[in-house]
Amino acid sequence: MIIIDDVHFAYDGIYPALRGVSLQIDSGERVAIVGANGAGKTTLVKHMNGLLRPQQGRVFVNGRDASKLSVAELARTVGLVWQNPDHQLFLDTVEKEITFGLRNLGYGPEDTRARCERTMSILGLTDLANRSPFSLSGGERKRVALASVLATEPQVLALDEPTIGQDAKQKENLSNLLMELNANGCAVICVTHDIEFVIEHFPRTIAMSEGLIIADGQTNSVLTNDRVIEICSLSTPELTQASQALNQRFPEVSPRLTLVKELEDAIIKIFGGV
């Protein structure tokens, strides 16, 4: 699906942001990208739809060399949702905002309408269809921005910090939506610092530091690795902290648990249950 092969990139040619990054993301995967501020996460994601071009190395999307495709062509395959929704909203109604991308990519009027309505109902925006995006709350604007990308039904959806500013219920809705998209074959890539969100929803985690990938693998092994946690300036997941505390007293409990179920089983085992 997406292959990134030894990509180097430096802003203005002198400030290195990526220093030889290689990875492969297959269709239908859910991948989280974590790392300290300035690790190169957003830079990496921008290479996936051609907003940035590698100064060295290559990017392939769906087996085609991305360097030969325009951003608009790549946008059909790779949808990017930005951290700050205000950077993309500019029309006077939510509905127009959502259909804007569809019209750019050349969908017909009926198709556009259908996709727009479907997306609005999934994201709970139907009631806001005729409101101005600028009169909405931060969380609502964020959902409009998400909807405007989702409506194009990309095969890969990359999100930059989607959980910031969302209350628990919206976060739940967002994760349900991502799961549903993923079940329909869409690969989901998420740049985030929200470690609990990653543990719950992303089986694979890529950890970055100073323009390099320092770990790439199963989330429960990456995020319970002390070195990774320290270098990426994350905090150890709470459940892992609990399992570490239990491990001090009961060595049979693994100190690297991440899920409620795993911890529950471990505690039951301590008490001699089955």
């Binding site: 951003v71 608009a72 205000d86 950077h87 993309q88």
Partner: protein
């Protein structure tokens, strides 16, 4: 917009950087005034030849050269339009003089903007008797130009990711494509301005009438020297320009 680079402060150690901003303001205005007194080619060339060493003394020659390259299309535009529309006897020669004058003017002012930090500027204005609020607003405005630029790039990225093709299509389409950039830019700027105002007020901006300053500027001997020489030069040139008949070669021009 690379021609604007010459108006952007660069942190460096140089003779010019170390001068008092007020002295630099005087020298810049004098140089610009001199540039405005002439339109002929020879005086403008002499003027630029005088300015370049000053830019070199500010260690900014490279930046100046980049800016001037960026200015080239505008200069060509001026030359072409003036040559076609001018009513003077030798329109081409006249328009060359005009574009050289623009270079001289920009260079004169760049000497100030390249070497004066926004904070220094507002401090200079305050010490010249301007109210703190106005001086602060001005240095704030200067401070936010690069931020606005970054914001514009982020917005362009966001819109391109939604399939807006900024550099494709005919003139009309390209102009229409500015809308998705400019609207968010305005909204983001207003939002930012409001939140900055709130955050400043919540930190007590304007709470006390009398402000004290951590650093104050002091006019040293060399600053007086610079002011004196600048004003002297200006007066002498005004004298020659308006009360003397200048030799023939000064007004030399191309014969077309």
């Amino acid at each position: 917009m690379s021609f604007l680079e010459v108006f952007q402060y660069t942190r460096q150690e140089s003779v010019i950087h170390n001068l008092d901003p007020r002295a630099k303001l005087v020298i810049s205005i004098c140089l610009a005034g001199i540039s405005l007194m002439f339109t002929d080619i020879i005086p403008m060339v002499l003027m630029i030849c005088f300015l370049i060493p000053l830019i070199a003394a500010a260690k900014s020659l490279k930046r100046w050269a980049t800016s001037m390259r960026g200015l080239l299309p505008l200069l060509l535009f001026i030359i072409v339009f003036n040559t076609l529309l001018s009513t003077t006897e030798y329109p081409f020669s006249h328009s060359i003089g005009l574009s050289l004058r623009l270079v001289a003017l920009m260079t004169s002012f760049s000497l100030f903007f390249l070497t004066v930090h926004p904070d220094e500027l507002s401090q200079a204005l305050i010490q010249m008797g301007i109210r703190f609020e106005f001086a602060f607003a001005m240095s704030m405005a200067m401070r936010y130009v690069p931020t606005l630029g970054q914001e514009a790039y982020a917005i362009m990225d966001a819109q391109r990711a939604r399939g807006v093709e900024l550099d494709k299509g005919n003139m009309l389409k390209r102009i229409r494509n500015i809308v998705p950039i400019i609207v968010p830019l305005i909204i983001v700027s207003i939002r930012r301005a409001l939140s900055i105002a709130e955050s400043m007020e919540s930190r007590g901006f304007g709470a006390s009438e009398k402000r004290t300053y951590m650093e104050t500027l002091s006019f040293r001997k060399r600053d007086w020297g610079v002011v004196f020489i600048s004003l002297l030069g200006l007066v002498i040139l005004i004298h020659f320009r308006f009360f003397f008949s200048l030799p023939e070669w000064v007004s030399w021009g191309l014969p077309f």
